[in-house]
Assembly symmetry: C2
Homo-oligomer: 624 residues x 2
């Protein structure tokens, strides 16, 4: 299956690949007709590209389809899943009979690819993300000095997504010559022709502007496809784009190049005639056999304990800065850690890690979508990515985080500068929705430390925990609250003020925890004892443990958060209590309820109701 | 202030603009030093571009700075706010003395621009969004046959954002020749040099590939700036990019082109010397005077009642389809409505509107970020944008929606294909986090209709309601529940099953409401009466009214939603109850808790615990 670029493929090779392409088209039609839905036409435009890539260019390992030493393939246009599954089947990853289970409830062969399918590194189906994933796989392979090459098949419709061009910038900038894009330019989107239709030169200019080697071919000419794949493989110093002019539904006259055939299976009674136009019918055993779902998905590799934090307990440290120190300490004991920053490493403090481990740090520039999906690619190679920006700008990559969860990816995100406590920069730089959005990511953990020690410990926890981990860090310096040996289990919280006389429980995190502690001290002077809880882990929550604490304070609950009321700490606590059949007797959920503006952090904390004064008032009101 | 392209600007004009540029630089330094924070160096690189644009090219209306008939300016690199404020002050929009209130708690002149400042159409500060806003302003001006021209100042750092290239595609495709970009390429990002530094040809190639007229100039050569602005204005049939090579901190030797000066004010004791390098010192009155904040922001224009819905009450209709019919009916009575679809108009059914009002419909292609920010630009001109995609893909534009809220923008979003009930396409196409994310947008309304009539009424409500409105529509056809004259107030809900014997309250919406109704019928046959509530409006909620209903059923509450548990209906209801001092006596919040996969809708609703059977079981358990 290895090309011989000097002489080019033989006529026999070309004919064999052509036959493979026909089989991929036919199997795609058969599987979608059996399912009664799906995207056969989007498969057929890519059949020759897929056949050439899988059975001529790629080094495959069918018995270990996710091997990082084999070449990798990302189907960015995820709706063409059937042609990918057909290629895996033809390659021997699973039997062709499985293809006829496409889209069924019990099948691993879903409507769009997920990593439950052997050979798939990341879920696709939200368009425009695959090239970034491929760039992550490619840059990870380079770090590993692996000869792995990465192929990404994209559609032209998805090339309208900005993320594609973020990825093209990134791959061009880092000269990822182990990365090849195959662009299946079939000129038809879902609802109408694509923006540029078959104006192939526009795509060529765009990739070339980013420093890529780009060429235009006829995507249904197998000899041209193989020659282009050979040239791509021989290209040094830059990624390669093979821009293939194709026809949606190629090979079947009734659907080829026709609008209104997007996402439609060929009716059962038309299938035989359609297949006949392409090649001989394929017989597939009726018994689809057992599921071929991957039994287990990668976990972050284990590593020894890092060095202990070494802060002066008397000196305040911003949690954002502690994150940088924590990453550096982890870097010393875990060579899989890779950090990327969206041009804010000097604000999020990942530069502390980057300066210590420059080969494990990438500048992601101001392109958060690409940064997150590159992380997914890195994680698929067993790296432990830590991706950072201001927390508000991670909202730019919310769809990418969502897809990372569907990818069962292990990625870590650090969002700094949360809430109104950033001060003068104003609301565009204040994350007030990140707890809500990251909580609503399946399997996520959401950490919100209030001091440097807990930040360090939680950063370590992130490196060990599978799934999507989010760390919310704050801009202001805050006092050290814990000794360096304190443990921070997940789920968990810390009770920082406690007595048998406690009249109410106040739950905070970040700057609001420090305000709550101040409030507790003020109230104590008035003879009112309150319990104060550091909710360092906002998700998952231990409802039973919380209910015990709140129950011990007559069921009176006050939460206070530097976040909108929706989906944050207050709602999380109420839901956790409800999950164990509990509810507060009385509650007050303090949060930011008006649009903030610029000002000094302390002015804003006061004006928007998060200060010790407001917390103390809430306590007095709730016990009245 | 109008250019004379035939002869070009006189030497006197050039000298006058040069003086303006110096004043803008000096005022930017003064304001940031007074504030003690901010981005003077990012202002200084743009001073000549700003002076040329404001005082040579643009038609300004200082007394009515937001006039849609005057030319518009968008500062995409929002951190250069001081130079924008200085330009407004120099133009007479407000006195220069106001500039010294920059970033103060009491000032309208925030760290980044917001529309509270006269002359600002949209908030900026999350980079890479301004060109899309400008494209929206420009395409709106074209719809209005207005001679308005739109200028957008971008930084080179933000040109790494994919959204910039989505906007460039959009503006090129729609040939927006009333749109001019000024790219301030100062080669320094926040944390290090930008990706392409001063390789200006890369930017030129990228814009030209998108069909723009692009030229490279020395951004500190005023004559070159004015000549480029003249050529831009004279260009027909394509948008124009003036790519200006500049120096960050230009004019002051100690900071010009130096790294580590991003976002730092010049220390007070160095200010006079810095100013001296640029020009004569500026005296500003010590009294900053009153706030110049805009007293009111635009509301959606009023319009007559649309035609009544005309569904056959016996035939099920998908809410996504009713949305299309509703938009068409609104189009007949509201000429301000503009719909944009992210290449899914045949799935979200906005094509029903588009076919009827093709001049008010734009194909947004697969570029959701640009679509939302274009909507913000349209709304700033008084249009009523309706923007659609699959609900899951609107997560791609979460940061843009966040910024729309800070812009106090009036935009409407429709997300179709929510939840697991879409079936075979699998999790990448299922929105399970959209209630959480849209609820956490300040001032948003979140509507989740369960039948065609409520969809129609809520779509009308969206066109009338200021702020961010989100409509969650479903893929499956559902029964008509309401008569065509039913009203759907905001906040509000409908009690669809009710008796004095009700043992529990079940709250649902969309497919889960229909499952709840089925469950109620099954339980009735067993002699168990339950109250069923249609929560068509998920935000805002009337906690008191909900508490009354739940109180009437012994405080027993069951919520059921096609959404993750976090931030959705269950948490919203608990928080609304808590806000009025109530809590359910017993509760069960049913939601999707495992990662879904492909399958038939009914299989998934059953398997993931949302079906009538599961609801009935929950009722039996809660009353046991």
């Amino acid at each position: 299956m290895t090309a011989t670029p000097a002489t080019g493929p033989s006529a026999a090779t070309i004919a064999a690949i052509q036959e493979k392409a026909k089989r991929l088209s036919i199997l795609s039609m058969m599987a979608t007709t059996a399912a009664g839905s799906g995207h056969p036409t989007s498969c057929m435009s890519a059949a020759e590209l897929m056949a050439g890539t899988f059975f001529y260019a790629m080094k495959l390992d069918p018995k270990n389809a996710n091997s990082p030493d084999a070449d990798r393939f990302v189907l960015s246009k995820g709706h063409a899943a059937p042609v990918l599954y057909a290629a895996f089947a033809e390659a021997g990853v699973f039997p062709e009979s499985r293809l006829m289970t496409l889209r069924q409830f019990s099948s691993e062969l879903e409507g769009h690819p997920t990593p439950l399918i052997p050979g798939v590194d990341a879920a696709t189906g939200s368009l425009g993300q695959g090239l970034s994933v491929g760039a992550g796989l490619a840059i990870g392979a380079r770090m590993d000095k692996s000869p792995t090459r990465v192929y990404v098949l994209m559609g032209d419709g998805e090339m309208a997504e900005g993320q594609v061009w973020e990825a093209a910038e990134f791959a061009g900038y880092y000269k990822l010559d182990n990365l090849t894009v195959l662009a299946d330019v079939n000129a038809l989107g879902q609802s109408q022709p694509t923006m540029y239709q078959h104006d192939m030169e526009i795509y060529r200019k765009k990739f070339e502007a980013e420093g890529w080697a780009a060429e235009v071919i006829d995507g249904h000419d197998v000899a041209a496809v193989l020659a282009a794949l050979d040239r791509a493989k021989a290209t040094k110093g830059r990624p390669q784009a093979i821009l293939a002019q194709t026809i949606k539904g190629h090979g079947v006259s009734s659907i080829a190049g026709k609008p209104n055939w997007h996402g439609k299976a060929i009716p059962k009674d038309q299938l035989a005639a359609a297949i006949e136009q392409i090649g001989p019918a394929i017989q597939v055993p009726a018994d689809p056999g057992k599921s071929y779902a991957r039994p287990s998905l990668p976990k972050p590799p284990d590593f020894p304990a890092p060095a202990e934090p070494d802060y002066d307990p008397s000196k305040p440290v911003a949690t954002r800065e502690a994150y940088g120190f924590a990453l550096k300490r982890l870097g010393a004991v875990n060579s899989n850690i890779v950090a990327i920053s969206g041009d804010v490493k000097n604000s999020t403090f990942s530069e502390i890690f980057g300066d210590a481990y420059p080969d494990h740090f990438y500048q992601g520039y101001i392109a958060e979508q690409n940064m997150v999906s590159v992380g997914v690619g890195l994680a698929a190679r067993g790296k432990v990515p830590f991706l950072d920006s201001f927390a508000c700008f991670l909202s730019r990559a919310y769809d990418q985080v969502r897809m990372a969860a569907i990818s069962r990816s292990n990625i870590n995100l650090c969002g700094s500068h949360c809430g109104i406590s950033i001060g003068e920069d104003g609301p565009s730089q204040m994350a007030l929705e990140d707890l809500a959005s990251f909580r609503a990511i399946h399997g996520s953990a959401v950490f919100y430390p209030s001091d440097a020690i807990s930040t360090e410990r939680l950063t370590e926890t992130m490196a060990r925990r599978p799934g999507i981990n989010y760390l919310r860090t704050s801009r202001p310096k805050t006092a050290i609250l814990y000794s360096k040996n304190e443990k921070f289990p997940v789920p968990g919280f810390k009770v920082l003020r406690q007595s048998a006389q406690d009249k109410a429980t106040v739950i905070g995190a970040g700057v609001t925890l420090h305000e709550a502690l101040k409030a507790a001290d003020q109230l104590k002077a008035e003879g009112i004892a309150v319990r104060v809880i550091d909710l360092y882990c906002v998700k998952p929550l231990d409802g039973k443990a919380l209910a015990e604490q709140i129950g011990a304070t007559a069921g009176r609950l006050i939460t206070v958060e530097d976040h909108w009321p929706e989906g944050g700490i207050g709602e999380a606590v109420l839901a956790a209590l409800a999950s164990v059949g509990a509810a507060p007797a009385k509650s007050k959920l303090i949060a930011v309820t008006e649009m903030p503006h610029s000002g000094k952090p302390e002015e804003l904390i006061e004006a928007f109701g998060l200060s010790a004064k407001h917390i103390a008032e809430a306590v007095r009101a709730i016990i009245a």
